[in-house]
């Protein structure tokens, strides 16, 4: 058994997500002591628990996938049904409020164009680069700000202040500094997302239990070591949630920022989205909303996996 098993974590994490979610629920229902709980002891103790366990796990895997899938499917079905109903009721004309079928046809046409995927690739590359940059910068700034009191006093509040600035306001500065290069987009993305990352880290660091800090101090942790072995892992939950917010900001900033530099040839998602809007092509607008939503959800799933692995490691989910 490795000391830190990363591979099984993921799987465990996915599972923990569900059980973790159930935990408060059952906790909420079960504060009263049980009246009578009877379980056939043969079930567990009669058989060898080691023999029994893998079988149960396998059965549970299918169940788990089903458990995590059906609410999503149901939710989608309900939304689509409502949508179709409203459409059929002819509340608004079809070009304003298209039917699900219209949209799905448009969406199908869209995702079957290779051009579209080029755009997605371009945008995702930018998003990931920009986000990575924002994380790097945000982490350094966050660590520095939480460490040096004068820095915190000087720019602590500025961090949130920057974040409240609409991306579009950065355009003039971005053009001025970076002309019309890709860097201009990166600038807009980073300035949108880095504050979230920094704030998440700062808040995490601020809430590191004092006992742990003292333990670290007694161990003689200093400088980088202290951050690496104590501060960062201890503030990880808050940091991950900061990353999640940072992602949202960076994506939004990117959608605005992509209007800044339009690369001929491959057209980024942001530009396509704006154009769909300019063209008042409602089914296309909705299609892009769905595309952005799906990307957002997929990325969120990644964050959730990380988060669940974390909770599992911290022992915050039940066995």
């Amino acid at each position: 058994m490795p000391t830190e098993p990363p591979a099984p974590m993921k799987y465990a994490g996915a599972r923990a997500g569900l059980e973790g979610a159930f935990a408060p629920e059952t906790a909420g229902l079960g504060p009263e002591p049980q009246k009578i709980k009877t379980l056939n002891p043969d079930e567990v103790s009669g058989l060898d628990a080691l023999e029994l366990a893998p079988k149960r796990e396998k059965g549970q895997l299918g169940l788990r996938i089903w458990h995590s899938a059906w609410p999503k499917l149901l939710a989608i079905a309900i939304v689509v049904a409502l949508w179709e109903l409203v459409y059929l009721a002819e509340w608004k004309p079809a070009y304003v409020f298209p039917s699900p079928l219209d949209v799905f046809t448009t969406l199908k046409d869209l995702v079957t164009t290779p051009d579209f995927w080029d755009g997605v690739r371009l945008t995702m590359t930018r998003a990931i680069t920009g986000f990575a940059l924002a994380v790097a910068i945000g982490t350094v700034v966050g660590a520095a700000v939480s460490r040096f009191a004068p820095l915190r006093a000087a720019i602590g509040s500025l961090i949130t202040g920057l974040q409240t600035m609409p991306s579009i306001m950065w355009f003039p500065l971005a053009i001025l500094l970076f002309q019309l290069g890709e860097q201009a987009i990166m600038f807009v993305v980073v300035i949108g997302a880095a504050p979230s990352v920094a704030n998440g880290l700062i808040s995490g660091i601020d809430y590191v239990p004092r006992t742990w800090l003292r333990v670290g101090q007694v161990m003689g942790m200093k400088g980088l070591d202290r951050y690496r072995h104590l501060i960062l892992p201890a503030s990880l939950p808050s940091f991950v949630s900061g990353l999640k917010q940072g992602w949202a900001f960076s994506w939004r900033s990117l959608m605005a920022g992509e209007l800044l530099v339009i690369v001929p040839g491959t057209v980024s998602v942001g530009v396509r989205m704006q154009n769909a809007r300019d063209l008042s092509d409602t089914p296309l607008v909705i299609s892009y909303i769905l595309v952005v939503l799906v990307i957002g959800i997929l990325i969120d799933q990644l964050f959730n996996a990380a988060d669940n692995a974390l909770r599992k490691r911290w022992g915050l989910t039940g066995t």
Binding site: G30, P31, E32, P33, Q34, K35, I36, K37, T38, L39, N40, P41, D42, E43, V44, S45, A49, L50, A53, P54, R56, E57, R210, T319
Partner: protein, 258 residues
């Protein structure tokens, strides 16, 4: 004990534990913490649990409190109100000392005016009269444990489960709290299940002392303490009986070690 013995419900027992097993984890990580433990605690009884470190005492208490699911067997508390004092104090840092003690009172619907008074009384019981307005982090380890005790008492439960409540206390404070606990137990006709590592303490307080074996936890012995109350922890009778139990425990640990 086989399952076949399970006939009828014993109405006189407040906590009925029969063949209860508890497995943590699954697969190759599974750990059988409790193996078919059976124990009955009668109304008004004071039962002490003894056992080596990691033998499953806390696990048993959390099962009785309904905090974890049993993996097998029967567990019945007849729907009674159960309070549990945890091994770690686990006070809420966002509440003052008094606030922590008042919280269970509040949940019972006791009025705003009444609460601080009751809380002050309870803090007096645990000898922390002057600390009502402090925050948990301003207390010493033993003081926190005492606040947790006051909080558990504030729950006004029928069954009180206590997990090493006096572990971080000096002998003198411990003596005082033994007296107080005994008084409250008598006056309120509480049923107590008390985990400790101090054999004398167990003999000082318990009607019965139950020994658990290690990994998996099993009941290996059930001593009835006959000495008349009030007892003194340094009395010869208590010492003698404690010595006897210690020997039994030592033998068990030695057996387990080989």
């Amino acid at each position: 004990m086989s399952i076949l013995e399970t006939t009828g419900v014993r109405t006189e027992s407040v906590v009925h534990i029969e063949n209860v097993s508890k497995t943590y984890g699954s697969g190759s990580n599974a750990l059988l913490a409790l193996d078919r433990v059976s124990l009955d605690v009668q109304r008004g009884e004071f039962v002490c649990l003894l056992g080596a470190s990691g033998c499953g005492k806390s696990t048993l208490l959390s099962l009785v409190a309904g905090l974890d699911r049993i993996s097998g067997g029967t567990l019945d508390t007849g729907g009674r109100k159960v309070a549990l004092m945890f091994q770690e104090a686990a006070l809420f840092p966002w509440l003052s000392v008094s606030g922590n003690v008042e919280l269970p009172l509040r949940l019972q619907g006791i009025g705003k005016a009444e609460r601080p008074k009751r809380a002050a009384e309870l803090l007096e019981v645990v000898r922390l009269g002057g600390f009502a307005d402090k925050r948990p982090h301003e207390l010493s380890g033993g003081m926190r444990q005492r606040v947790a005790l006051a909080r558990a008492l504030a729950q006004n439960a029928d069954v009180l489960l206590m997990d090493e409540p006096f572990g971080a206390l000096d002998a003198m404070t411990r003596d005082i709290l033994h007296d107080e606990l005994e008084r409250i137990w008598r006056e309120q006709n509480l049923t107590v299940l008390f985990v400790t590592h101090n054999v004398r303490e167990a003999v000082r307080l318990g009607d019965r002392v139950v020994l658990l074996s290690s990994r998996p936890g099993r009941v290996i012995e059930d001593f009835t303490i006959g000495h008349e109350r009030p007892r003194r922890i340094d009395s010869p009778e208590v010492s003698a009986q404690a010595g006897e139990i210690t020997d039994r425990l030592r033998a068990e640990v030695a057996r387990h070690a080989n």
